[in-house]
Structure formats: structure tokens, C-alpha cells
Symmetry: C2
Subunit: 727 residues, 2 copies
């Protein structure tokens, strides 16, 4: 794909991040200048207290960009202590060698960025600066984020555009750049897409031989779903051990919003633990049940109403403007959906806050679980209604829709011999699998990209015009801070764009894949080619998601996780529902709706459910048996570590000490082995040039930084409305 | 209970084990004397090579008892190395302090006996004597077992006969005496019996208000089953952490019978691992499916035939001898059952051997899983037939049993208006819960006890007579080894009885409880008082099982386990089947068999299954949330250990070394704190006397021991048949 391969290595200099580890985006548009100056001063003081170096530049509009760099010795110490903490909590089995003054070398950029993230966001008593964007004291901090490694991103995109399969090293690279949470999503979509090959091929065979609603495809599809879910469970453990994040949830720090009932000194560890009764939390969690019921009713009612109206208009109504009126219900539904979803989401957020989770992880998981409910209803209910209510019972139900007063016609005008087209389910599934996926891809990736590029161009144009007009209106010093140094301008405009970009939400992408999986298991049997469509879509989706992540979103903080989260339970439920739904669809539709008997249908459901339970047990036992290699490898590793330790203490009487390591310019290679090593000569020249600009960028001392910031605030805050209009 | 409280503390001397750690029972009845002498010599040599002290006495008949004692320094070293191995495999988190020469003090008798067990049975390259009873070189070794701690056993029995509930300390005592595998069974029966209190009470209430087949009891019963199974899963983890055996299966040694495909040097640990393809093993395990099918068909066919014959005779046949003929089918069934069970068991054993498990643990589990299938069929199929075939459809089926040629009567003589008594199911359940349990208790505990006591008395009588007759027939030296020293005679007769006793099979007792649980969940709704019966029965069963274990069986080697094994899966399946069965029984029987509709029945089943799945999910989530304390405590403990280690290495530069400990006479107290300390004076005298006899018992040197043994073999083996008849 030529779109991705146009980057040349010479651009590398332009992609340099000037040694910036983190950026804080401070907005003071709605603030008084004195207040803004105060806040800015305390921001700088807090960062300085946490041993972080800072520089300041202006952002888009009335905002400041505070650039943060962690001195390399301090960063090395943070990395080392983070590893010791991992060991204390049993995440890793090998005690990192060293003592309190050890400076460790991060294995991946994500590891060092995670330590930077902790230094910026952790509470002060834990050694951080406690900068919490959009919360409490820092509600004017719009965001705090690391900068993208553009060269590595482009390299990955370029590589993937030429290959079909991702390798284990590709996943390791994502992990190295964005942390485990994001890497788990890409591992998931990759495994899932690979597995899709089976239903895609089997679907083509079955479609060729038996057409839709065939029993062989139904069985293959359900079995496939069970095998995939069980496989993924093992794969997840495998990855979490490979990436050394198994059980990482235990060491996450307490959220600022956490309310505890009492502080207890743990009798065993001696640490002070903040306790909130798990029993009360469980009671609060039970509120999910009424929430899910209300959400189901609200969304379900809306969907049923829309559906009924649509059917009424398209199949019964014969009046004027029929062509336009047919679209009316869908339009109304689409208009209502955002506000209803928003309402439900705000209720969900409140519920999750009320449930009072200790760590951000648990909070996110609980929130995602609630989004599941609403997502699943909006995604599946319309098709469920078509498959199990409208087509089988439509002929009996639709005549009841005839309300004379609404239509102003006599009932006699109604078509008495109304019959429902049994192919409607197939059409709906075809539409959703082909056009639906393409449209959603465009909406998700292409449209934002076009919008962003257009906005950038427009801004550039306006800035250039404003610059010409304003050059003489400000003092020398202010002009120096308001107008970019030519060396920095490309870098700064990139950072400004990243500051305005959206945050990347990995849960949403995972959810999208779960919905796709659900479509395949629930309704796949009605059109076996659907898996093929999904397979093609996912090739693009994987790359599109990475494109979105690396070019349209802020780089997410490299958070660790040991699973794709509650989506796993969603997949399990879907594979179970899928078996029931597939059995019912095949039973109902195979003979074209001829002679449906309730008892046979129920027996089909019961038998398919037993088959599901039996197969799931067999598959999980068998897979665990055959794929137990990783777990054994993990045990062997721990054994080896302990054995080595034992030997070391036996011979020396003390564990070996680590040697001091020095980080070079705070940069670590993503790829363990580069495929084409750059020519050392040109590389040296380039590095020299980059080092020079970087040194200049960080040249201003702390009080000068403070001065610069205050000057920008005064210039933009006071004259803000004026200049803002022009910028 | 006066049966147990008659023991006086003065008996303590009589219960002393003379410092014997292990006993090997060698039988040479069918052997030539020279061969027997050779085998005995190599037995002594192997034991001596493994640094074990030996003494020899004659047993019942043509057999030798080889008494083994592990020198206390050697035992302490074994215990220490076993702990280091635990640490290496990640079973415990704290590295035991010490070095290669450390002598550790066992925490419990079970821990030291486990080391003795390893010293006796492990392969020579692992440092053991490799004595494998009834296998290979040692097929003439009838058994090898530790001696009971009679005082502790009696103390526990006495304590339990006075209380209703067991405490955590009681379970710890069982663990200290018999090891974790046995302790898990007692923990299970205790938890289960406690939980039974709810259905017992609820059953009485429901029976009072609504009688049989009531919906409230059915719901309560099913919910209870789900809660119990989920609770037990957590409780099991809890106990395995408390007893430090979690994941203990990983460090078990390879069985002698294990066949491996290749030996591979593990790239990580550097240890040589014997590999057998898990894929091939899984394929072999799949043979369980045809085995289960064949077993079901064979047993099922037999049961159906018996059932049909019984029904035919009792309800249709009107000829002569009816009173006797009625019992004929059951008698035939009972006569056939042992041989069919035996055949199935021998097939099961072959299958399990073919499946080729590396450790004895895995082998036992696989064998037990197969016994499950046969046990469950024989236990539940008759009642299932009554509940779901005979009573609902009997009126339609029974007339077909009328075969004129068999009966020699005209079909017209048959009662045409045949109807089945709907109360039959209730009667069957009542019989099984009350008389059945009492009978099985008698069969299992009381009968063997009576038999054993009678046999002992008879043997004593014959021995005394033979002694009078034979005194002058043998030489002085032989007489010395053939007739017991008066000081030892009580001890030796006790050991001889233990040598002849059965091995204790903990899986069978567990299985019995699972069958009881199955009765309650499957058929409990037909007579709600059944749980009350089980509750009373289990009070006795728990004590009876301990009585059997401590007085009628050999003391089992203190094997470790971290679960009750495959029974857990059996419980899960039963709680699921129970929901379906209860729903069906309540639906069918509630209105006295009036208007049964297949579609309603199927709907009932489907809905109850969904309710089951939903409830199980909710219960397991909720319980795990509320009962997560232990897991957190475990994590906290590991944290504390690592923290402490970190501090120690930081300040000293090396982990603290352990001090040498000395074991006193190889005895460790079972109870951490005795309730009534014995008076020191009389205790001292007693101890002095015991020490004296013990010293005399162990006074003979190795070559004297060999001489003694050879002499016994010559005396009993040659004149064996003669003397044996008289002894």
C-alpha cells in the first residue's frame, strides 16, 4: 500500500522527539490571568519537586504545553524500583540485582515511559508529581501524554502493509511501544482473524453445497466458536507470562477518587491497607441487574417501536411519500440513539463511581462491562427480532399494526394476504457483514483522518496570516515565546496536534471485535459467507486500528494488563448464546418455515445446549492438555531461577550484585535486531545534528521556564480572545 | 460414647512404637528357601545402602516383618532437602534457611513420615531404597507402611465423640497424622455435613407446609447445591494454601511404570526431563468415551433387565411362589454385579496403565475418574428409571412385558387396568436415605471390625496352643527369633495385625459422599426429609471413617494433595444434573401425573438450565468476592517474606543462616498446645521405661539382623506348611 510506504528515512530527523518524555497540556482560556499564573507556578513546582525537568511552549489557543524530561539517572532508579516492586508482588520471580542506588536500563520504551507516567501521575507520598488531568486541582490540565515514536510507528505500518500475518515479534514491538494493554488487543484481533480462516473456508464449502441454514456449517461454526474462546484463554495466559504481567492487577496504585472505610495495618506485611468492605461493594455491584434491565427495556422498546414502524410503512402503508417515509423511523432512531446512549452511559459512570473501585484497572473493567450491555443490545436486538419474531410470526403479528385512526383508511384496504419474506434475515446479515463493516471502518478511521488533515491545513493557513499581522504588536520577549524557533517549529506543530487528538480507547476496539464474533456465532448460519467478509474486513481493521492509534490518537500511557478484560466473559456468553441461536435458526429456517412445532424446537435447543456444555468441557480439557507447554515453561523458569539463586548463595554467601548501567540519551531500540542496519556514517552526522537541537531545546533554566510560561499566559490569556480569533 | 472413652493414659506405654518409622512386610510362602534368603539379603542391603537401620521379626504365617528406623540426623537432612525442593518448585515462598548439612525439625509427624516414605520407596538415584511393594523385584513384599500413632488416634476419636463440630485444629491434627490427602477428605465431609444443615432445616419446613414435590424446596435444594460446590472450590484453595500444598502435583516423582518416549534436557532448568507426548496421551484418554459407553450399556442393560423382571413379577405375575420369586431378580443382580464391576475395573485399570501417567497422583486421579462412571451408574440408574420411566410411563410400558410363552397363561388373564403407584419414587428415596445408609455403614465399619476382632481372638488361641506343642522342636537360636520377647509381644502382635490390615482408600470414601450429594440434588425434592437423614448419617459416618482409618486399616503414607481430586468435577456435574432432574420431578409429580405435556416439560428443563447457569455465575462471582480473604492473605504473606528478605540482604548482604536443630527421639507432638499437660514425674518414669525397651529392640547389629531373618525364613519356609497349619 503506497499510502504507508511513502515515508523516507531522511524524515527521521523531523520525527525526533527532542528527548521529551511527557507533555502536559494546560488550558487557561476560561481562567483569570492571576489564577492561571498561580496554577502554572504550582504545576512547575510540583514537577520540580518530583525531580522532573521542564520546558514550556504555547499550544493551540489559550494553552500551554509543558514538556517533561526525567533525568536519566532518576529514570533508571525509577525503573529499578518498579522492578523490585514487581518482584515483591510476585509478578516476576527473579529479584532484580542491585541496591537502592542502582540505575536500571529499561528493556522497552514502554517500560521507561511507564516509569515516567508514574513519576507524573502518582501521589506525592509515592514520589510522583500527582498531576491528574481533568480532576481536582488539575481540572484545567486537558491532558498529559507521551509523544509518539513516529519512526517506529511508520516502520510497523509499512511492514504490516506488505504482510498478511503478524509475527510474535510484531506483537512484542507493539508491547514495547504502547504497553501490554494495547498489545493484548492486537494479539486478540490477530488470533481471532487467523481463526476466522476456518469458518471462512468451511462457509464457502457449505454455501456451495448446501446453501444457507445448513447443519454442517452450523455445527462447524459453533464448534469453532468454542475452540476459539478456549484457545484464547490459554493464549492469554501464555502472553501474560511471556510479557511478565500475570497477576499485575494486584500492584496497581489506589485511585485518587477511592473512598475507604478504614485504614488497616496488615498484620502480615506491616503495610497500611485502605479497606472498603468487599461485601458492600458486591451489593453495590448488584445494581448492575436493574441497570441492565432498564437499559434493555429502554433500548429494546425503542428498537421494537422503530422496527414496527418500519415494517408498517414498508409493507403495509400504501399512501403518498412512501419512499421517504420508509426512512423516517430509522432516522428518528438514529437521532434518539446518541442521547439515550449518553444517558445510559452517564448512569453507568455514576454506578461505577458508586461501586468505588480501588484501582483504575478495576474501574475501567466495571465501566466496560456496563458498556457491553448497551452495545450488545443495540447491535444484536434488531437482528434477533428479525430472526425470531418478525419472520416466523410476522404474518400473524403485522395485521395488528393496522391502526385505522392513524392511517385514516378503512381496515378493509389492508392486504389481508400479507406474508413475510423469509429471505429477510439473510439480507439483513449480508448488509451488516459487508456494507456495515466497510461503513464503520470509514467512519472510524478514514473520516477522522480527512477531518484532521483539513483542520490542520486550515490552521496553518490562519496562523501564517495572523503571524504577519501580529509581529509588531507584542514585545521582544513575548514574541520570542509566542513564535516558534524554526528548528523546533515542525516538532512543535506535531506536538500541538497530538495535544488536540483524542485519547485512544482500547476497550472500544475490543468490543467491536466481540460484536463481530457475536454476529458470526449468532446469525452466521443464515449466510455462511459472512465469515469470509469478516476475514477480509479484519485484515484492514487491524491495520486501520494501528493507523488510528499511531496517527490520530494521543499515545496512550503504557499501562499493563494481563487479559483483554471483561470481553472474555462476553465471548463466552456469545459462544453459548450462539449455539442456541444457531440451532434455533437452522431448525426454523431450513425447511422454509414449514411445520414449526414448539416441542421439537425446545428439544433442539435443549440438545444443542447439552452438546455445547459437553463440547466446551472436552475442548478446554484437551486444549489445556496439548497447549500446556507455556505453563510448564514458566514453572521451569522459576525453578531455574531458584536453583541458580541457591547455587549462588551456597558458593558466595550473597546474591550477585548488579553492575551500574548508563542509559544513552534515554533511547532504547524497539526491535531487538534491525533488519537493515543504517550506515554508521550518515547516522552519526544525523545524531550530532539532533543532539544539538535537543540540547538547545532543553537549554533554558527552571526560573526562565517559569518566566516564559507566565509571559505566554499573559499574552494569550489577556489578549487571548483577540489573538485566538485570529490564530 | 463409652466405646472410645475407655482408654486410660496408662495404656500409653503399650502404644509406644519402639521408634519404628516404617515396616516392610515380606512374604515367602510360595518361594524356595534359597530364593527367599537371597531376596531378603538384597532387601536388607538396599535398605542399608539408603542409610536406614533395620530390625527383623517374624509375621503371621510365612512372613517377615522388617522394621525400619531412619537415623535422626539423616531424617532431619531429608526433611530439609524436601523443603528446599518445595521452594524450588514454588510450593512454598520462603527459602528454608540452612545449607547442605542442615538438619531440620519436621513440623508434623506426617512431614517426617513423608520423608521416611521417600527414603524407602524412591529410586536409588534419588537416594531411596526403591522398595516397591507388589511390583517388579519386590512382588513378594506384601506391603510397606508406617505404624499408627495409637495414642493420638484414640485422643482424636475421644474428642470427636463428644462434640458436633470439628475445628480447624482437628483438621490440622488429621493432616499432622495422616497427611494432606486424607485431611482433605475429612475437611470435605465436614464442610459438606455443615452445609447439609440448610436443606435439612428447609426440608422439614417445606415438608410440613407443602409435602413432597414442592417448588420452594426444589429451588432451595438446587441453589444450595450450587452454593456448596462453589464454596468448596474456594475452601479447597484456602486449605491448600493453609497447608502449603498448592500446586504440589508438580514435584511428584516419576512412577516406576512410566514409559517415556525420549529424555530431553530442559533448556531452561538444565534438568533431564522424561517426555511422553501429551497429544498422544490425550488421544489415549479419549478411550474413556467408548469405555464409559460400554460400561453404561453393560450396567444399564443389567439394571433395566432386573428392573423389568422385578416389576413383572411383583405387579403382573400372579402364579405360585410369588413371595420368593419377587426377590429373585435382585439376587441375580447382586450376584452378577461383583463380576461385572470387577471386569469393568480391570478394563479401567488397563486403560489407565495404557494412558501412561508420569506420577502416581495423576494415575490415581485417572483411575478414580473411571470408577466414578461405574459408581454413578449403579447408584443412580435404578432411581432414574423409577422416576422418569417406570412411574410416568409404566402404565403404557408394563403391558408389553406380558410374554405368554414365558408365563404359560393367556394374555386375557393380565390385569388390563394396570396402574403404577406414583408414591413408588418417594418410597425408593426413603429406603435409600434411611435403611440404605445405615446398612452401608454397618457393612463398611461394623462388620469388618467384628470380623477382625474374631479373627484375632482365634489366632491368639491357636498360637498359644501351637507354642506349647512346638517349644521343644526347634533349636535355641531359632526359638529366640520365633517366640516374642514378653516386652515386645503386645507391640509385635499389634504390628502383625496392622500388616494384615487393608490399605485405606480415601477416594472410595470421597466417592461415597459424592453419591450421597447426588441423591440429594437429583431426587431430594421427592422427599424433603432426606437431607435430615443424611445429616444424621454423616455425623456417624465422619467418626466411623476415622475409626476405620485408624483401627482397621494400615496407616496410609502421608501423601500430599491440593484437592479432593476428580470428585470436584463430579460434584459440579451432579449439581447441574440435579437442577434438571429436580425441575423434571417437580413438574411431573406435583399434580399427581395429571396432564403431562412434552413442550411444557422441555420448557421447564430449558428454563431451569438457564437459571442454573445464571445462578452459578452469580454465586461464584459473589462468593469469590466475599471470600477472597485467604488469597489476599497468601499474597500478603509472600509479599512480607520477600520484603523481609530484601531488608535482610540489604543490611547483611547475605540471607540469615539457620541454626542446627536436634530431634528428640524422633518424636514430634501432634498438638501444638496440649490441653492438660501430663504430670512431669510419672511421665519421666514412663519415658525412661519406654526408652529402655526401645533401646533393647534396636540393640541387634546389622549382621545379627541378617542372621535372624535367615533363621526365620529357614524355620518357617521349610517347616512352613507344617508350622503354618498350627500357628
Amino acid at each position: 500500500m503506497s499510502l504507508f510506504s511513502s515515508h523516507k528515512p531522511a524524515d527521521q530527523a523531523q520525527w525526533d522527539n527532542f528527548g521529551v518524555d511527557w507533555v502536559v497540556h494546560y488550558q487557561f482560556e476560561a481562567l483569570e490571568i492571576s489564577k492561571a499564573v498561580d496554577e502554572f507556578e504550582s504545576l512547575l513546582r510540583d514537577l520540580d519537586d518530583a525531580h522532573l525537568e521542564t520546558q514550556v511552549r504555547h499550544g493551540h489557543g489559550a494553552s500551554l504545553l509543558v514538556f517533561i524530561r526525567v533525568p536519566s539517572a532518576h529514570l533508571g532508579s525509577l525503573v529499578y524500583h518498579s522492578r523490585v516492586k514487581d518482584w515483591l508482588y510476585g509478578i516476576i520471580h527473579e529479584l532484580p540485582v542491585g541496591d537502592d542506588d542502582t540505575i536500571a536500563d529499561a528493556d522497552t520504551p514502554a517500560e521507561s515511559l511507564r516509569s515516567v507516567y508514574h513519576a507524573v501521575t502518582w501521589q506525592k507520598k509515592l514520589g510522583g508529581a500527582h498531576i491528574t488531568p481533568r480532576h481536582g486541582r488539575w481540572k484545567n490540565v486537558a491532558s498529559a501524554f507521551p509523544l509518539h515514536d513516529q519512526a517506529a510507528n511508520a516502520e510497523l505500518l509499512r511492514k504490516w502493509s506488505r504482510t498478511i500475518l503478524l509475527t510474535a515479534e510484531d506483537l512484542d514491538s507493539i508491547r514495547a511501544l504502547f504497553g501490554e494493554k494495547v498489545a493484548f488487543y492486537f494479539a486478540f484481533i490477530h488470533s481471532y482473524s487467523l481463526f476466522l480462516a476456518f469458518p471462512a473456508a468451511w462457509g464457502v464449502v457449505c454455501w456451495w453445497h448446501w446453501g444457507s441454514y445448513s447443519i454442517p456449517f452450523a455445527i462447524g461454526d459453533c464448534l469453532w466458536a468454542i475452540v476459539f474462546v478456549e484457545y484464547w484463554k490459554i493464549r492469554e495466559t501464555d502472553l501474560s507470562l511471556r510479557w511478565q504481567v500475570n497477576g499485575v492487577g494486584a500492584l496497581k496504585v489506589t485511585r485518587t477518587q477511592y473512598v475507604w472505610e478504614k485504614e488497616v495495618r496488615d498484620p502480615i506485611t506491616g503495610e497500611v491497607v485502605q479497606v472498603f468492605s468487599p461485601y458492600r461493594q458486591f451489593l453495590r455491584q448488584l445494581l448492575l441487574v436493574p441497570f441492565a434491565s432498564i437499559a434493555s427495556l429502554a433500548l429494546g422498546g425503542l428498537i421494537v417501536a422503530t422496527f414496527a414502524l418500519e415494517v408498517f410503512i414498508s409493507e403495509v402503508y400504501t399512501g403518498s411519500l412512501k419512499g421517504y417515509l420508509e426512512f423516517l423511523p430509522t432516522v428518528i432512531f438514529s437521532l434518539c440513539l446518541p442521547s439515550i446512549s449518553g444517558l445510559l452511559n452517564s448512569i453507568a459512570t455514576r454506578l461505577t463511581q458508586y461501586e468505588n473501585y480501588r484501582t483504575q484497572d478495576q474501574y475501567d473493567l466495571a465501566q466496560t462491562a456496563k458498556q457491553f450491555v448497551t452495545h450488545f443490545i443495540t447491535a444484536f436486538l434488531p437482528t434477533v427480532l428479525t430472526a425470531f419474531v418478525y419472520v416466523p410470526f410476522g404474518a400473524r403479528l403485522v395485521p395488528h399494526l393496522n391502526i385505522p385512526s392513524f392511517q385514516g383508511k378503512a381496515p378493509a384496504d389492508m392486504p389481508r394476504d400479507f406474508s413475510v419474506d423469509p429471505g429477510r434475515l439473510k439480507q439483513e446479515v449480508m448488509y451488516l457483514s459487508l456494507t456495515g463493516q466497510v461503513l464503520s471502518f470509514g467512519e472510524e478511521v478514514v473520516l477522522p483522518y480527512v477531518k484532521r488533515v483539513a483542520l490542520e491545513k486550515w490552521r496553518e493557513y490562519r496562523t501564517r496570516q495572523a503571524a504577519v499581522q501580529n509581529r509588531r504588536r507584542v514585545s521582544q520577549g513575548t514574541s520570542q515565546v509566542l513564535f516558534d524557533d524554526p528548528d523546533e517549529s515542525a516538532f512543535l506543530s506535531r506536538v500541538r496536534n497530538e495535544a488536540e487528538a483524542d485519547e485512544y480507547n482500547v476497550h472500544e476496539d475490543t468490543l467491536e471485535m466481540c460484536v463481530q464474533f457475536g454476529y458470526l456465532t449468532l446469525f452466521g448460519s443464515s449466510w455462511p459467507l459472512v465469515a469470509l467478509g469478516f476475514l477480509v474486513n479484519n485484515w484492514l481493521e487491524l491495520r486501520g486500528d494501528f493507523f488510528k492509534l499511531s496517527l490520530e490518537c494521543q499515545r496512550p500511557p503504557p499501562i499493563r494488563a494481563d487479559s483483554i478484560g471483561p470481553s472474555l466473559q462476553g465471548l463466552e456468553v456469545l459462544s453459548w448464546l450462539g449455539t442456541l441461536s444457531t440451532a434455533a435458526i437452522v431448525y426454523l429456517y431450513r425447511d422454509g418455515m414449514a411445520e414449526i412445532r414448539v416441542s421439537s424446537l425446545l428439544l433442539t435447543l435443549l440438545l444443542s445446549e447439552w452438546a455445547y456444555l459437553g463440547m466446551r468441557f472436552a475442548v478446554s480439557t484437551g486444549l489445556r492438555k496439548v497447549l500446556s507447554r507455556t505453563l510448564r515453561r514458566e514453572a521451569a523458569k522459576r525453578y531455574a531461577v531458584r536453583k541458580g539463586y541457591l547455587k549462588a548463595t551456597a558458593s558466595e554467601g550473597s546474591p550477585p550484585r548488579g553492575k551500574l548501567r548508563v542509559r544513552f540519551r534515554g533511547r532504547v531500540s524497539v526491535f531487538t535486531s534491525a533488519t537493515d542496519p543504517p550506515s554508521p556514517q550518515s547516522d552519526e552526522v544525523l545524531r550530532e545534528a539532533m543532539l544539538h537541537t535537543e540540547r538547545r531545546f532543553w537549554s533554558r533554566r527552571p526560573n526562565q521556564v517559569l518566566e516564559d510560561g507566565v509571559r505566554i499566559i499573559r499574552a494569550l490569556g489577556q489578549g487571548g480572545p483577540k489573538i485566538e480569533k485570529e490564530l
